[in-house]
């Protein structure tokens, strides 16, 4: 079988023979000139919401503490305060105050070697304190789910509040709700609120799930609000919002029914926007960017916001290994981002829609097959080699979080796979693999929030480097573990190139 690698506009000048294993990577030049298809990236904003007192409600801690209540006390003793979370080097990279390339030079462990003078405001993101997050929860609650203790709220959260009037009550009232099964919300050791279920008989509307959903909504809304403010863009200009958050908004008749995107649009005040959700496990944001860019390219929308809120379920996912290693609990933040897409302007960093690659069913799920599908083939389509990419944005999980549990250094594994493929194709020597990894890769700096580390986290630095002329192009590659849902044994993935619209 010989497939013509073409999109509907047939703008590629390569075709790829995929008839059998031996022909992988064989390229045949054809005559049509390349005409890039670009959609502009107006900007991107990231946020980390520091919620140490919600770590106990992460999926893993919740299960383990129920089974062994003493673990709750141990966990509480290892939580970081906001200053420590702010001065944590990977977080400073995340919000744009430190370049990823600099991280390599910083002394480890990063959780001990904190950055002096670190601020919670970054060049393209910020860190949000828990009190402010609680105020956001109260201001975005349309169904009287959360109630805060009045005195605490007025002293600590009211200054951050906006939106709907929060429900406030006495400590006795809050305690009574918790006694009836509401989730207790703490600030340090103090009980400050109660989060209730949405329906007595609906397992999709229990308090744990609704808190997860509302947390995703308010953290995504925060990032979008911040981005609109940075860009000085009128909220009414957004035509469409795509959420790629990791949640399952819905009821018992439609678990995961979705369209959190529209709820986020409403929360931010994007009155002219509608929206929808795009999900593909950790690869969701990359698909969402492609879908958003396609809406622009087709003329259906003029400005699209792609957003994702944080994953509460993943808080404290590896807390046991952190406890064993006498480390602080590093998975104490909800990651979120927002990007705005529009027709490409001259010189603007853009998505190359003609570079987009999806991982097809037939491709196989070995790391090599993924790299071929998501890096080699899309580059070949554009007449490029693996060595023509200045930076690869892969799954940039912070290794300081993952290695203590034996999960390895995920980005390094991904970079080595790309380097090995470059060796196999004769683009570099085997002895140059480490140079390839160092020059075109970076250390991971994202919290293990699933969708957030998966390449999209690098977009902010990529845009800065493209604007500054430090790089010509970056390839973002994300993978999704579809098999976790028990519907297929397959993995998945999506990639695209970003460069400047200089043609």
């Amino acid at each position: 079988m010989l497939l013509q690698s073409s999109n509907v506009r047939r703008r590629h000048n390569y075709k790829i023979s995929i008839s059998d294993e031996s022909s992988r990577g064989n390229l045949e030049r054809v005559s049509n000139p390349i005409k890039p298809v670009r959609v502009g990236i107006e900007g991107v904003s990231y946020s980390l919401t520091h919620v140490p007192d919600l770590v106990r409600y992460g999926s893993k801690p919740l299960r383990e503490i129920r089974a062994r209540p003493l673990l709750g006390q141990q966990l509480a003793e290892r939580l970081r305060d906001f200053n420590a979370a702010t001065a944590y080097a990977p977080h400073q990279v995340y919000i744009g105050n430190i370049a990823p390339e600099q991280l390599r030079e910083l002394a480890k462990p990063w959780y001990e070697k904190l950055i002096e003078g670190a601020t919670a405001e970054g060049r393209f993101g910020d860190l949000v304190q828990q009190d402010r997050f609680y105020a956001q929860l109260g201001g975005s609650d349309h169904f009287e789910l959360v109630k805060f203790e009045e005195q605490w709220f007025r002293e600590h959260a009211a200054q951050h509040w906006s939106g709907r009037e929060p429900r406030l009550g006495s400590l006795t009232e809050v305690e009574a709700r918790c006694a009836k099964g509401a989730l207790a919300l703490y600030s340090a050791r103090r009980l400050v609120g109660a989060f209730e279920q949405g329906h007595e008989e609906d397992a999709s509307l229990v308090a744990e799930i609704l808190l997860e959903n509302l947390a995703a909504k308010v953290t995504a809304a925060h990032s979008l609000r911040a981005l609109l403010s940075t860009l000085k863009m009128d909220h009414g200009e957004i035509d469409y919002v795509i959420s790629c958050s990791e949640e399952a908004v819905g009821d018992r008749y439609n678990r995961g029914g979705g369209n959190l995107a529209k709820a986020i649009a409403e929360d931010v005040g994007c009155q002219n926007a509608s929206g929808s959700d795009t999900k593909a496990f950790c690869a969701g944001p990359m698909y969402a960017m492609v879908h958003g860019a396609s809406l622009i390219q087709s003329g259906i929308a003029n400005k699209v916001a792609v957003v994702a809120g944080g994953s509460l379920a993943k808080l404290g996912m590896k807390f046991e290994s952190h406890l064993k290693k006498n480390m602080p609990i590093l998975e104490d933040v909800l990651g979120s981002f927002a990007a705005i897409l529009a027709p490409a302007k001259a010189g603007q960093p853009s998505i190359r829609l003609d570079s987009v690659a999806f991982h097809p069913v037939r491709a196989g799920t070995s790391p090599q097959a993924m790299a071929e599908s998501l890096a080699e083939r899309p580059l070949a389509k554009l007449g490029l080699k693996l060595t023509d990419v200045d930076r690869y944005g892969v799954e940039l999980h912070n290794p300081e979080i993952t290695t203590p549990s034996g999960s390895g250094d995920v980005p390094r594994t991904n970079y080595l796979t790309l380097a090995a493929l470059a060796v196999m194709r004769g683009q570099i020597q085997k002895s140059e693999m480490e140079d390839f990894v160092r020059a075109r890769g970076m250390l991971g700096y994202a919290p293990t929030q699933g969708h957030i580390p998966s390449a999209i986290v690098y977009l902010g630095h990529a845009l800065e480097n493209l604007r500054a002329g430090k790089i010509r192009r970056a390839l973002l590659i994300a993978k999704g573990s579809l098999f976790l849902g028990r519907m297929t044994q397959l993995s998945d993935g999506c990639s695209f190139l970003v460069d400047c619209n200089d043609v």
Binding site: S366, H397, V410, G450, K479, S481, F483, Q489, S491
Partner: protein, 41 residues
Amino acid sequence: MQKGKKIIAIGERDGVPGPVIAECLEGAGYEVVFQVTECFV
């Protein structure tokens, strides 16, 4: 020697997937009683 030996195969998404391990081991005569691929991040 391998024939009849029971195996649980746990693969990893960024490494070797579970079905691949199972196929190799079954080819060598093992009985794979359970295989799964996990994602550790």
